[in-house]
């Protein structure tokens, strides 16, 4: 099996599992307990919080652990909306290519108007567009750091500067950026940031919300007061420990990562396939993601054939039934529907090899030829 879907999820690295093991076995105390067993677990959570804060350039008091990126996004948006609501500011600016956990939450904020901006044809949402959309009653701008389908890096620093000047909160879904690109929350001036452990070789089911110090996260889950009263529920100690260990390992490997070279090799190979279009080719992208569209191909059939050949890839996102939905991301970029039908996302990790990359190119080439040849016969 060749795994080329790292943007969907990644495997837990051995070092991460090792860091988690004590908390899955002997050190099982509840961090909220008074006794030594609880204290040991609480210490692990504290240490993890400090580690994450150091890596992201923020204070430990701004780090809140959640169940993952979706929860962090939900909480970030509700928090900003509550802040805005208190001042009578009920307008939010975001992007049409955001992850569904952002879009569906925005749809659900009662009494708020949301402007969804479209990126340019290369998939970049320019700061200019954001500036033009700001209104006196805007309370929040939410723009993801890296788009999960295209890998395109968004101009976060420029957008933050605008928000600072306008007194507007800035949230970024950094799920595809954390562990891949350097992040400096305080220096950049980001108010709210979401991340998810399983995207950088940590366990699934745990993430974090970074929320600036003088803003209190709006609790989604109420109860026992954990996470400083902002997220009830006994802490997922092994998960939290795993998240911190994984983030530390990933951040340490950003420089000198083999992934950019592997991706170049992949894209050079793919370019030779007739009727293939690279998405976001001319703009800065996160290292691992390659998004292409193949003419005259149905991506459902393509993914199944690749699956049968042992290549794990994806295209767009799945709806709740598991069927592929039309990519709202490609649509927002103005990619014609006919072309978007042939979309393919390959996302590499440091564990992929050159031989695997060559095999991926071969597989996609063969699948494309086979599906197109079949069409001509009919």
């Amino acid at each position: 099996m060749i795994y080329a879907d790292h943007a969907a999820t990644t495997g837990i690295h051995p070092g991460v599992l090792e860091a988690m093991m004590p908390y899955l076995t002997e050190t099982y105390g509840n961090p909220g307990s008074l006794h030594a067993a609880g204290a040991r677990a609480a210490q692990a959570v504290l240490y993890a919080r400090e580690t994450v804060a150091n890596l992201l350039g923020c204070s430990a008091r701004t780090v809140y652990f959640t169940s993952g990126g979706s929860e962090s996004n939900n909480q970030a948006l509700h928090t900003a909306a509550a802040w805005g609501g208190r001042q009578g500011r009920r307008h939010i600016v975001s992007a049409a290519f955001e992850h569904p956990s952002v879009l569906r939450t925005l749809e659900h904020l009662h009494g708020f108007q949301v402007t969804l901006l479209r990126p340019d044809a290369e998939g970049v949402l320019t700061a200019e567009k954001v500036r033009a959309a700001l209104r006196p009653d805007t309370c929040l701008v939410s723009v993801m750091s890296v788009n999960n389908e295209t890998g395109v890096i968004q101009p976060v620093e420029e957008i933050v500067a605008l928000c600072r000047a306008a007194g507007v909160l800035f949230h970024t879904d950094a799920v595809q950026a954390a562990g891949q690109l350097p992040i400096a929350v305080e220096r950049t001036g980001i108010d709210l940031l979401s991340l998810s452990a399983h995207k950088f070789h940590g366990p699934k089911g745990v993430g974090a919300l970074i929320c600036r110090r003088d803003l209190i996260p709006e609790p989604l889950i109420r109860g026992g007061g954990q996470e400083r009263g902002c997220r009830a529920g006994t802490e997922n100690v092994p998960g939290i420990v795993g998240l911190a260990a994984a983030l530390e390992e990933a951040c340490g490997k950003i420089i000198g990562s083999p992934v950019p070279a592997l991706r170049r090799r992949l894209e050079d190979g793919l370019e030779r396939i007739p009727g293939i279009h690279r998405v976001g080719a001319g703009v800065p992208r996160a290292p691992g993601i390659t998004c292409v569209c193949l003419e005259n191909i149905e991506r459902e059939a393509m993914l199944v054939l690749l699956d049968q050949m042992g290549v794990c890839a994806s295209a767009g996102s799945a709806c709740s039934s598991g069927a592929l939905t039309h990519s709202h991301v490609l649509q927002s970029m103005g990619v014609p529907e006919k072309l978007a039908r042939g979309a393919l996302r390959l996302s590499l990790g440091a564990d992929n090899t050159e031989a695997e990359v060559d095999a991926i190119v071969q597989a996609v080439t063969r699948v494309a030829a086979r599906l197109r040849c079949g069409k001509e016969e009919r």
């Binding site: 459902e300 054939l305 049968q308 709806c319 709740s320 039934s321 069927a323 592929l324 939905t325 599906l371």
Partner: protein, 362 residues
């Protein structure tokens, strides 16, 4: 080992079909077709999909059987070939056949094409019917052994190509055997009810659905008798079908049936059984499974799904078939399917274009 794509709806029939094929040594891929978006049902986007339970049931059975399972989105094709047709036929006063259209264009159309693309030799479904190859290499379609469950009526439009690449593992089984197998295998859907309604209108409220789909309003109007006297009100002429007896909201001494409707005047006409009787009909969009003789011949016909076959004389027409019934037939509605049989064998079928009553052509 032959490779087959099993269409799994999440119901017990297609689940047992997959099981049997797996047992017989086929290399199976389970597929559930996503045919419509829940927004079609008037629910906001993001609402849990109504057929999620069905997909999960199919997936659960597939995992149990150790076969891969995929969900393919054919909603665009379904809207074009099934839903759109459904609305159009109702608008023109006919009775549509969405399940027959779905078989023709989706299951044995798009899905079969996808199956071939993915290297499968055939598709398989849980339909109760039998396919057999004759000595001359042609394929024939037969009724199921379980007469009460026989679904050959909805499969009449299958071409030779489609028949050649379709497996129907349940044709020789009785429904209670199928349920027994499902229970033995621990399938989650062993006791699930068979779906009765049209899948894309699960609440059965066709008028509401059509209004949402076409954007037009179908207001209530009058129900007339065959003399033009007003008997009561209808809830929207569009969804009434010829032969309909239930749901008229009339209390009459004798049972009455819908025997006509006029979309322009927004009226529905009802009459006694006699008003519905057809001596003959012409059908178009015909598919022959068996090569027909040139001269007129006798066969048995079904003009409704669960009907006992009726003797008829069959005459070939340039674009279809003319059937003359020995015994006048009730409720043969334009738009409905008519299927010809000889014994258990399906000769062919088509869509009723017009019906002749009392020897007078309509």
């Amino acid at each position: 080992m032959k490779k087959v794509m099993v269409a799994m709806s999440g119901g017990v029939d297609s689940s047992v079909a997959a099981f049997l094929l797996r047992q017989q040594g086929y290399d199976c891929i389970g597929v559930t077709m996503k045919l419509y978006d829940n927004t079609m049902q008037g629910q906001p986007k993001g609402h849990p999909c109504c057929t999620l339970d069905d997909v999960e049931d199919a997936r659960s059975v597939a995992y149990r059987l150790g076969i891969p399972h995929y969900v393919f989105d054919f909603s665009e094709e379904f809207e074009k070939q099934v839903i759109h047709r459904f609305a159009e036929v109702y608008e023109h006063g006919g009775t549509p056949n969405p399940c027959i259209d779905c078989n023709r264009f989706l299951k044995f159309g798009s899905l079969l094409r996808r199956a071939r693309e993915l290297g499968c030799d055939a598709v398989a479904t849980g339909h109760y019917a039998r396919i057999a190859e004759a000595v001359d290499g042609r394929f024939a379609l037969y009724k199921a052994v379980d007469a009460r469950r026989d679904q050959s009526y909805v499969l009449y439009a299958m071409t030779q190509e489609q028949l050649a690449h379709t497996l129907l593992p349940l044709g020789a089984l009785h429904k209670d055997e199928v349920r027994r197998i499902a229970a033995e295998q621990g399938f989650v859907n062993a006791r699930k009810h068979d779906s009765q309604d049209i899948c894309f209108v699960p609440d059965g409220d066709y008028i509401n659905f059509l209004e949402r789909y076409t954007g037009k309003k179908y207001p209530p109007g009058v129900i007339l008798d065959t003399q033009g006297r007003v008997l009561g009100q209808h809830r929207g002429a569009i969804a009434y079908t010829i032969g309909q007896r239930r749901g008229l909201g009339l209390s009459m001494a004798e049972p009455v049936y819908v025997c006509g409707k006029c979309m322009k005047d927004n009226t529905v006409t009802v009459g006694p059984q006699e008003a519905l009787l057809a001596h003959a009909l012409t059908a178009e969009d015909w598919n022959w499974i068996i090569c027909p003789p040139e001269k007129p011949f006798y066969a048995k016909a079904r003009v409704r799904y669960h009907q006992a076959e009726q003797p008829a004389q069959v005459t070939l027409l340039p674009e279809g078939v003319h059937l003359a019934f020995e015994i006048p037939q009730r409720a043969a509605a334009p738009g409905q399917a008519v299927v010809l049989y000889q014994g258990d064998c399906v000769l062919g079928g088509g869509t009723i274009r017009s019906v002749q009553q009392h020897g007078i052509a309509e």
